[in-house]
Symmetry: C2
């Protein structure tokens, strides 16, 4: 937690990953993020992983440092309360449909300078999820050894969309500061996916070659990079991106003569050309693989570290969670009293600002924990009016 965004308040009405991470990133940088959910929780409130008591470990991590207002969003009165919260606040992040009761036109009726950042599925408003835009742009057909497509497990498109949405919110705030005008920023998962294919040169590549890139398993395209297995059976990823790393890798593996012989035989120099190292991988990978297979991981890791060579062993998520450098001793993590009651290291902002004190990560709120406070403060409702809304089932409290 850092206080870079103090003074910014955002209403979030969302579920799943993309839109909630936008709110999370804003909250972890100091914005007040008020998540408004159906009383009892929205469609993501019990999403797995869950505890034995069915508390979602997913939900309580994606919603840290936010406040929670619970409303009956199926009722006209609950919907009006959410609309009014958005209007009074002026900043809104959502993945609700573009043309429903949370349409920009409806919300801006009472707040001309409203900023809405709307995460969408397909750009035309039809539904899509991370896992369906992913296979529609081709990555599963390029992943793994083949021939079957392999889905990613990390919801990469959701995450990229969430971070981009947080960025877009601040860009829109900056624009409004100069013009006074509100606007809606729509970010469809499908455009993030196909736009990223384009940004990485993928559209250009397939149209230039007229063909799909061949599957490469765990090798990286266009450079020297692959998984290898050490003498003691540790699988490790090694990637070379600079001439110095290449030279140091050859030295660390004592392959000077072998590589020089290969260069002479093929009439090339690998010293400064990623592409040549890739083109001649039929000879290079067996050579390096044999040298790596002859030594222990500890021995190699020390030599690689000394040479600034980028490498890392494959491990499981449980191994990672128990790595002190990554988690227990990492200032990004701290303690927080989670709604589930289960104690574990809680993450704060990815970013570190050396000039500022990092504040402890905050827990996610219980559903409706801040309903009374926010309805009073933001909408000016009296305690009697709020009590009546609670009694009628329009408002929930944590």
């Amino acid at each position: 937690m850092y206080n870079l965004l103090n003074g910014l308040s955002v209403i979030e009405a969302s579920s799943f990953v993309a839109s909630p991470t936008a709110g999370l990133y804003l909250a972890q940088m100091g914005a007040e993020v008020i998540r408004v959910d159906q009383i009892g929780g929205g469609p993501d409130f019990r999403r797995w992983p869950v505890t034995e008591a069915n508390d979602s470990l997913y939900w309580e991590n994606l919603n840290r440092a936010k406040k929670s207002v619970a409303l009956d969003l199926g009722s006209p009165q609950g919907r009006e309360l959410l609309q009014e919260l958005v209007r009074k606040t002026g900043q809104f992040v959502t993945n609700f449909p573009a043309e429903g009761f949370l349409s920009y036109a409806k919300l801006a009726e009472g707040r001309a300078d409203l900023i809405t950042v709307r995460v969408m599925g397909w750009a035309d408003g039809s539904p899509a999820l991370d896992y369906t835009v992913n296979n529609s742009v081709g990555y599963p057909m390029m992943t793994g050894a083949g021939p079957e497509p392999v889905n990613h497990v990390l919801p990469a498109w959701d995450l990229l969309t969430g971070a981009y949405a947080a960025f877009a919110m601040l860009a829109a705030v900056q624009k409004r500061a100069t013009t006074g005008e509100g606007l809606e920023v729509r970010i469809p998962l499908s455009d993030v996916a196909i736009g990223t294919v384009a940004n990485l040169g993928g559209i250009a590549e397939v149209l230039y070659t007229g063909a799909n890139r061949p599957r490469l398993g765990n090798a990286v395209y266009g450079l020297f990079g692959r998984d290898f297995v050490t003498a003691d059976g540790v699988r490790t990823m090694i990637v070379v991106v600079t001439p110095r790393q290449w030279a140091n890798l050859i030295t660390a593996l004592k392959l000077e003569n072998a590589v020089a012989a290969l260069e002479a035989e093929r009439g090339v120099s690998f010293a400064k050309d990623d592409g040549l190292r890739f083109n001649h991988r039929d000879a290079l990978y067996p050579l390096f693989g044999a040298a790596i297979a002859a030594r222990s991981h500890a021995d190699l890791a020390a030599a690689f570290d000394a040479g600034g060579i980028v490498h890392s062993a494959y491990r499981t998520m449980l191994d990672a969670a128990n790595d002190p450098a990554l988690v227990a001793n990492n200032p990004v993590f701290g303690a927080a009293a989670n709604p589930s009651g289960f104690d574990y290291p809680a993450a704060g902002s990815f970013a570190t600002v050396p000039q500022l004190d990092r504040q402890a990560p905050q827990p996610a709120p219980r559903n409706g924990a801040n309903s009374e406070e926010i309805l009073a403060e933001r909408l000016g409702l009296s305690s009697g009016a709020i009590a009546a809304l609670i009694d009628s089932g329009t408002v929930g409290r944590g």
Copy 2:
């Protein structure tokens, strides 16, 4: 391209994916982003995919809408010019080492309110890349059918880091507007990766269960979602995240009786519980798989679309590039005169702002294309002084 960030100027000294995408996202939202590179190009200037003339289709897409200044960054004079450009500009995005000639302390000597966003590998400054942080946090061990780990092809950590870096730049600018103070925001790939594991509930999950999640192949954890194959051999991903989608999927596949029988047999109701659908996937997937295998993709797609069911067929990147809805007819794409000379649809901002006119995507600059203009305007150098720097090999021009 949108003009949300007009008036913001950023120096970018970077390579590969994460830091350049931060600059790209800022530029596509209207910031002036001046990429400073080694004369002739940095370490990513020839990165694959490349044309037959060795022009990088990767580089020219990750650097659209930027300006380019080329300097000899190996020389003291070239380094001083970059330092001065950063100081005069006040905003800097980089993945150069934290403790070199571009350290925050050095740069802030002449510019106390400097904002630097620094993408790093490991938080301690040691080198890491997308493909090595990925296997260190466990995702490849969860991906695919097993038993071998499967690397992702999409550089997801780089992309997330880049978007988060663009967000962090705007957050820091907003903070500075209130305090007048500069700061450095450090974003290590390793913290983005382990922090994301935490945000998605992964740290909590493995510490709660004491075990790693089993591999699920192309199935999604904790809900009904998997790839299926239609009667005409189309592999399609189907994911259910709402009760309505579940009900409509059953109707579309005419499985009302079969699902009711299974619910009776097992004493459960799948209507509102993602977790139960996941727990009973041993029975549900064969049932749905058989119903899907009996019908054509066109028939099913029409029924699914009518029911708001989230689905999409697997296809290749070439298929995606040739899909008019995704590319040729998508307003995100437009024409741009690329440095490679190859014409293809160029992507603009992922975001769409209905209230504003979208401007055409811009091409990437040639190396050094803007050296003279920027050195004159930003540093106040005379044309004679610039000519001397070009003659001495300190400055390059495109």
